[in-house]
Amino acid sequence: MQIQETFTVDAPPTAVWKFFEDIERVARCVPGVQSVDVLGPDRYKVLATQKVGFISATFEMATQVESKDPLKSLALSSVGKSVKGAIGNLRSKDRVDFEATPEGGTRVTLTSEVAVGGMLGALGHKAIVSKSKEITEKFAQALQAEIRAGEAGR
């Protein structure tokens, strides 16, 4: 299933891009992410717990940065399976596009092609899409705060 979410950050693309280069920092902003381990250049192990309705699952994912087009876009891919909670697996291809807004901010567009397998996958797209919207909204807020905090600390 494809999920697309767009939000705007009050910071120029240079600042946003810099933030996205630091995957561990990005991960801190994603709700449910418990840990990020660096496996190699542009390769990470991510542990995250998500709850959809009454079902929760902790996924262990191998995430790979597939391509980078500085200030413009970033592509990632992840493969993982649940290690706790509902038995299932997950594949996703994610793309993040950055676009400067006339107001000096950055429009960030997340496009994910997600495949959820196992019991979670049978739950239906509606539940998963609404969950991903919720995650994206929280991520956008956290990202905004993180960038502001980063700038303030400079």
């Binding site: 299933m1 399976k81 495949a115 397998g117 049978a122 739950l123």
Partner: protein
């Protein structure tokens, strides 16, 4: 025979006394002490190699008593057998658990027995399984492509069965016909979705080295036979008990993997083991049904005489051939109620990485009715004929019955056109076309659709089934025993799953024995203490069961007359049984109560010389023929030609199920079946994602099973043509309501949108599918 006082009476259902009081006992109500609870780990991929399973941490988890893996299951059991193996079909080694390769998302790969379900579910999370995902297929077309992923090494083509039925000279007829129409139709994958999911309790009886299995099943004896085979046990050492069953609809026939899993865990732990299916497991484990793709051709002469039928169809079997597998009746009933002598039917049963297919109410008949009746309407439109006139011309007349159809089964009796006419009169069809035109001028698109069916009920003898290789018979059996108080008890292997058998069996027995149905107790659903039984499916129980009761009760009645004769000092030939007494036919004042007669049989005196004590008889009845019900559904809809939204304004079913044993139960059966027919026609579809192979709507939130509020009012009418070939003229009735729904609704929508040239060719019929068809029709101009 004397008249049967309780035949045709709307006796209140005996089973409702306990069910309505909340005293019914369903599987999960049975809880033995020290029961362990099972959680089943299911493969989260549509197709995957299991590289390794590490259960160490689960075994060490507090409260876990046993863990079972596929390797153990395959080593300790035989594969699940088909109840109806097809000649030449390739085996699809179907075990209680996947060993090396799992072939559908949801297939059991590991199981835990623990002190409660919570602990068992927690322990599942501690099991580390290394899967290697394999390429998958979830459509029949993909499965047939060259180079498609192969599910079973034994079936390189992914085609498990391929078969052809030919009658007459279909090729010549098709070539010579004035008009031919062809259509490709997609039938949705649906589920019978009983309110009570599946469940099983297995108990190993250490004292007798026997296995006792409580199961939510409609076939206790067939389950026992299959289970004993799988477990390599003697059938006598296995007892299967079905308590109250909360709906079955065909999907609770025969053995399931979970039955085997529970049995093995019970044997391993020496404790009762319980597994109750939760709803997410249900959608990914209990049999799915119906899915098929048909390409049907019909040929007719200019005057509208139907000449020939050709069908090329694919059944989506899922990953394994389960106990029942693909429907047979699609082939058998494709020609329907029409005068057709020439047909060419070719089917292929195709493997996909999906839940194995099984039976569902209307099994094969709903499918064939949909494709034929929708194409009949197209043919009528092509000929410029009214669809009702076209049908009337081609429906078999009563004087043409019995009629052997192109697939070789013989329709026994009925007045098909009368059913059609009655249904049409209910909707005021003679004036409808004028009204339709008027509505059209106001921009409202109203349509009437109809669908005629003839319904196969009961099997025409065990020998008939045997010719197809079936591993079960057509018979049913009972033991009838009179107790000392003069009440009767019937023991039957048929379980109670909503079909009303407890009441209807009692009505037949009471009628024959001279009792009130309240004085007939039913012991049911337990393989121990009941004669070999086939079980409740294929609309056969009432036909076969009535025959068995007739024989057993007849023997008891004759013996009561002999004993009564001795007590009264009267020749038994002068006696009859009625309302609790044995009496002289010509002088009712000379009588003795059945209670007294029964007591004599119990005490052993006074009896006629040489007569054995006891009033008990066991009888089997093997029906010599099937009985064919029939009917017509007429639907009126109004469709919004812009959005595709529509309303079912009228839903009329006229049907004939022969002699009605209990009209109230018939009505209930028909209502329930109509609801399921409409559900599959309008709402339900199990959707698999082609890319991921995942079932994406496996919950009641996403699978749109309708409630009463979603359904129209059904208008039902009954005709009654007693069958000449069955006991008491009974025909089966449980399935009929499902058969004609999809075609009648489709035809009504197409009729409403005829000015736009809209044709629908897939199920379910939804606002979206209509909107797409409208767009396609507009694009075609």
């Amino acid at each position: 025979m004397d008249k049967l006082p309780w035949l045709g009476a709307s006796v209140k259902r005996k089973e409702d006394d306990r069910l309505l009081r909340g005293s019914g006992r369903f599987l999960d109500d049975v809880e033995e002490t020290l029961t362990l609870h099972v959680a089943i780990g299911r493969c989260p991929y549509p197709h995957a190699r299991i590289r390794s399973i590490d259960v160490t941490r689960a075994l060490g988890h507090s409260g876990v008593e046993a863990v079972l893996t596929g390797q153990q299951v395959v080593a300790r059991t035989e594969a699940i057998t088909a109840l109806r193996p097809f000649a030449g079909s390739a085996p699809t080694a179907f075990y209680g658990m996947a060993q090396e390769v799992a072939r559908y998302e949801g297939e059991p790969v590991v199981a835990v027995a623990a002190v409660d379900r919570y602990v068992a579910e927690d322990a599942l999370e501690l099991i580390d399984i290394d899967y290697e995902p394999l390429p998958h297929v979830v459509t029949v077309e993909d499965a047939l492509r060259p180079g498609a992923p192969q599910l079973h090494a034994t079936v390189p083509s992914n085609v498990v069965v391929e078969s052809t039925v030919r009658a007459g000279e279909p090729d010549r007829r098709l070539a010579d016909a004035t008009v031919t129409v062809e259509g490709t139709f997609r039938i949705n994958r649906v589920s019978g979705a009983p309110i009570e999911t599946r469940g099983v309790i297995a108990r190993w009886a250490e004292d007798s080295s026997t296995l006792e299995l409580w199961a939510s099943t409609q076939t206790p004896h067939l389950l026992r036979a299959q289970l004993a085979h799988c477990l390599r046990m003697d059938e006598t050492d296995v007892r299967v008990i079905a308590p109250d069953v909360g709906g079955a609809f065909g999907l609770k026939i025969g053995v399931y993997p979970e039955d085997i899993i529970a049995a093995l865990l019970a044997i391993d732990t020496r404790r009762p083991v319980k597994w109750i299916e939760d709803r997410t497991e249900f959608f990914r484990g209990a049999a799915h049904a119906r899915e098929a793709v048909h390409t049907l051709t019909l040929a007719a002469d200019r005057d509208g005489t139907l000449r020939a039928l050709r069908d090329r169809y694919l059944i989506d079997l899922g990953a394994y051939h389960g106990p029942l597998g693909p429907p047979l009746l699609t082939n058998v009933m494709l020609a329907g109620p029409y005068r057709l002598h020439d047909a060419d039917i070719h089917r292929r049963v195709v493997l996909t990485n999906k839940v194995p297919m099984g039976a569902y109410r209307g099994y094969g008949q709903a499918e064939s009715n949909y494709v034929r009746e929708v194409l009949v309407d197209r043919l009528a439109r092509r000929l410029g004929q009214d669809p009702a006139d076209f049908r009337r011309r081609n429906l078999l007349r009563p004087d043409e019955l019995p009629f052997k159809n192109v697939s070789g089964v013989t329709y026994d009796s009925g007045d098909y056109a009368r059913g059609l006419d009655l249904a049409l009169s209910r909707v005021g069809y003679e004036t409808f076309r004028a009204r339709q035109k008027e509505s059209g001028q106001q921009g409202r698109h109203v349509g009437v659709g109809m669908s005629c069916y003839v319904e196969f009920t009961g099997y025409p003898s065990s020998a008939f089934l045997g010719r197809g290789g079936a591993r079960f018979g057509a018979y049913e059996s009972v033991t009838v025993r009179m107790d000392r108080a003069g009440r009767a008890a019937i023991s039957t292997g048929v379980s109670t799953f909503g079909q009303g058998t407890e009441t209807t069996f009692a009505q037949i027995a009471a009628s024959l024995l001279g009792l009130d149905p309240a004085d007939v107790a039913i012991h049911r659903g337990d393989s121990k203490g009941t004669p070999y039984s086939v079980g409740g499916f294929a609309s056969r129980t009432m036909i076969a069961g009535a025959g068995a009761i007739e024989k057993a009760a007849g023997q008891i009645r004759d013996k009561m007359l002999r004993i009564g004769g001795t007590i009264l000092g009267v020749d038994p030939a002068a006696l009859e049984t009625t309302t609790g007494v044995v009496r002289r036919r010509d002088d009712p004042s000379v009588q003795v109560s059945i209670q007294r007669v029964s007591e004599a049989a119990f005490l052993g005196y006074p009896l006629p010389p040489g007569e054995d004590p006891g009033l008990e008889a066991t009888a089997y009845f093997d029906p010599p023929s099937s009985a064919f019900g029939y009917g017509t559904v007429v639907v009126q809809v109004e469709v919004n030609a812009r959005s595709g939204e529509f309303a079912l304004q009228r839903y009329i079913l006229v049907h004939d199920c022969g002699t009605q044993v209990n009209p109230m139960i018939v009505e209930g059966q028909v209502q329930g079946a109509v609801a399921q027919g409409i559900a599959a026609a309008l709402f339900e579809e199990l959707v698999y994602d082609r890319d991921t192979g995942q079932l994406v709507n496996g919950t009641m939130v996403d699978y749109f099973m309708p409630t009463a509020a979603d359904l129209p009012v059904f208008e039902l009418d009954h005709l009654e043509t007693p069958s000449p070939v069955t006991p008491f003229g009974i025909k089966g009735v449980g399935e009929g309501g499902t058969i004609a729904a999809a075609a009648a609704i489709t035809n009504a929508v197409c009729d409403a949108l005829a000015p736009f040239g809209v044709e629908l060719d897939r199920l379910p019929v939804t606002a979206e599918s209509i909107w797409r068809a409208l767009a396609a029709a507009r694009a075609k101009g």
